[in-house]
């Protein structure tokens, strides 16, 4: 079993075996969303709390649907409607929630490292749903799943990541995972949004045409207008003139290129509408895959430590002796 982590906080130290296992598991969950009854009883009786300190539509909804498709109860809290507005700290909020015995907490927070902080203080699994400019592991996993589905592989592909790489947690998680899985990276953006350390992660360029030349995958990033307080470029119009992905720029890439965007899209700023909605776009596939990835992550992380050790030892593998038809008196007593 290659994935035995307690939390999913980032992808920086996740091995290629673990990533592949996560993606394979997610792929098997896709089929559930295509059924007429989109629900399995796997996490029945489990409680998942979504703690969203930043606005989120896609990620929160995707986690909620994923949890509910596995029959877990999902409780979503946003900072604006919680005791955070009364001055409660993240740790106090989380401790109070933990005292309500959830089986997993999903955290989105504006501060990098917030999910690590919670994981250090709480027992239940913590899933990072985006922390500051640090990581957004489930978004990267759904991107990887989408690429692998479309291209059949990840190793050897040239992936151009374009835009506000400095502030993008999506880019960081993708960079870590794509490197681990053997893809070549091109990082494209204005010099002010390309931190010097990025040169160790891939080929860096400030020229959009050069960046997308012969690329297999173009991964656009949202221009994070809310994080541009320090004037990283003169105007949005000027940024758009040099870095907006237009059909002309796409023509420099491979003929079977796929175009990705984590959303929400600033149409006409980082990507032209006809490209975002065009034949190379896999943006909606990313959204669909997000549910499968989050189902897989919840499935693999949700608390299983309550199992009695002697019962665990008595459970056989499915292939031998008729699979879970392999009981023991204690198991019989508990499973009822």
């Amino acid at each position: 079993m290659p994935f035995t982590r307690r939390h999913l906080l980032g992808l920086e130290d996740v091995s290629s075996e673990e990533l592949t296992y996560l993606l394979d598991t997610a792929l098997s969950f896709k089929e559930i969303s295509e059924r007429e009854i989109k629900k399995v009883p796997t996490l029945r009786g489990k409680t998942v709390i979504g703690l969203f300190y930043e606005p989120s539509t896609r990620t929160r909804t995707s986690f909620e649907i994923a949890a509910k498709r596995m029959s877990a109860d999902f409780v979503s809290l946003s900072a604006a409607t919680s005791s955070v507005t009364k001055g409660e700290t993240l740790l106090d909020t989380a401790r109070n929630l933990a005292a309500m015995r959830p089986d997993a907490i999903i955290l989105r927070h504006a501060s990098s490292g917030a999910s690590h902080f919670l994981a250090a203080h709480l027992d239940c699994p913590i899933i990072n749903a985006g922390d500051g400019a640090h990581e957004h592991p489930t978004q990267a996993l759904l991107d990887l799943l989408t690429i692998r589905e479309r291209k059949g592989r990840l190793a050897g592909l040239t992936v151009a990541i374009i835009g506000d790489i400095l502030h993008s947690r999506v880019a960081r998680s993708n960079i870590f995972a794509l490197r681990t899985l053997g893809a070549s990276l091109r990082l494209v953006g204005p010099p002010t949004l390309l931190a010097p350390e990025l040169r160790t992660w891939g080929e860096v360029t400030t020229d959009l045409s050069e960046g997308v030349h012969d690329a297999d995958v173009i991964m656009m990033l949202r221009l994070q207008l809310e994080r541009q307080g320090k004037n990283f470029f003169p105007t949005v119009d000027e940024y758009s003139r040099y870095f907006c992905l237009t059909e002309r720029a796409v023509s420099c890439a491979k003929p079977d290129v796929i175009i990705m965007h984590p959303g929400p899209i600033n149409r006409g700023i980082e990507i032209a509408s006809d490209v975002a909605d065009g034949p190379y776009s896999v943006i909606m596939d990313q959204v669909t895959n997000g549910i499968a990835v989050r189902m897989a992550v919840l499935y693999l992380l949700i608390d299983r430590a309550k199992a009695e050790p002697e019962v665990e030892a008595e459970t056989q593998s499915q292939s031998a002796a008729g699979g879970m038809d392999a009981p023991a008196p204690r198991l019989r007593r508990n499973v009822g």
Binding site: F3, E36, T315, D325, V335
Partner: protein, 182 residues
């Protein structure tokens, strides 16, 4: 073969048993109308494929066959140390108003079949579900029985039954192993 193992069915015996079961299924259902086969991962799938081939040989009809993965329906997920691997269900046909022949290798406590029935019902409402197993080793914990059995094999709880098939194990045999933890 391990020293504590004893062969209870060889390749020929398995062949004969499956041919007999195929005839029984056809006789009971008066042919292949509305008949579909669903194999439970993993060895049930191979047995279902073999039954489909035999039914084709006997009747000249290709009966639809699907695969059901019960991992997400198990009642011991939180008790298992090893996280079970999900390999997906593939039922590329509507099961509403069909006669589903559910196929597995070993019937033991009945919990796998219970999970498979739950999973199957999420796909539709079959006219009926009939159960084929290659081996019925007894020790039921749920009120479930097989409609077609390749071989009834009385066992002790501390024995285990291993069905080995060419498709996954390189050879066809059923062995009973003594003294293994169940």
């Amino acid at each position: 073969m391990a020293p504590n193992e004893r062969v209870v069915m060889d390749a020929q015996a398995i062949e004969r048993a499956l041919t007999r079961v195929a005839h029984e299924v056809l006789e009971h259902n008066k042919g292949t109308e509305r008949l579909v086969l669903v194999g439970i991962r993993s060895r049930g799938v191979h047995i279902a494929e073999r039954l489909r081939d035999r039914i084709h040989t006997i009747e000249g009809v290709e009966v639809p066959a699907g695969i059901i993965d019960i991992t997400l329906y198990r009642d011991d997920l939180s008790r298992s140390k090893q996280r079970p691997e999900v390999r997906g269900t593939q039922i590329p046909f509507a099961i509403d108003d069909t006669r589903v022949i559910l196929v597995d290798d070993v019937l033991y406590t009945g919990r796998t079949i219970r999970a498979a029935l739950d999973a199957l019902m999420d796909f539709g409402r079959p006219l009926s579900v009939q159960l084929v197993v290659l081996i019925d080793r007894g020790h039921r914990e749920l009120p479930i029985r097989a409609d077609y059995v390749g071989k009834n094999l009385p066992t002790a709880v501390n024995e285990s039954v291993h069905v080995r098939l060419k498709e996954s194990d390189g050879r066809d045999e059923v062995v009973i192993a003594r003294g293994e933890e169940c």
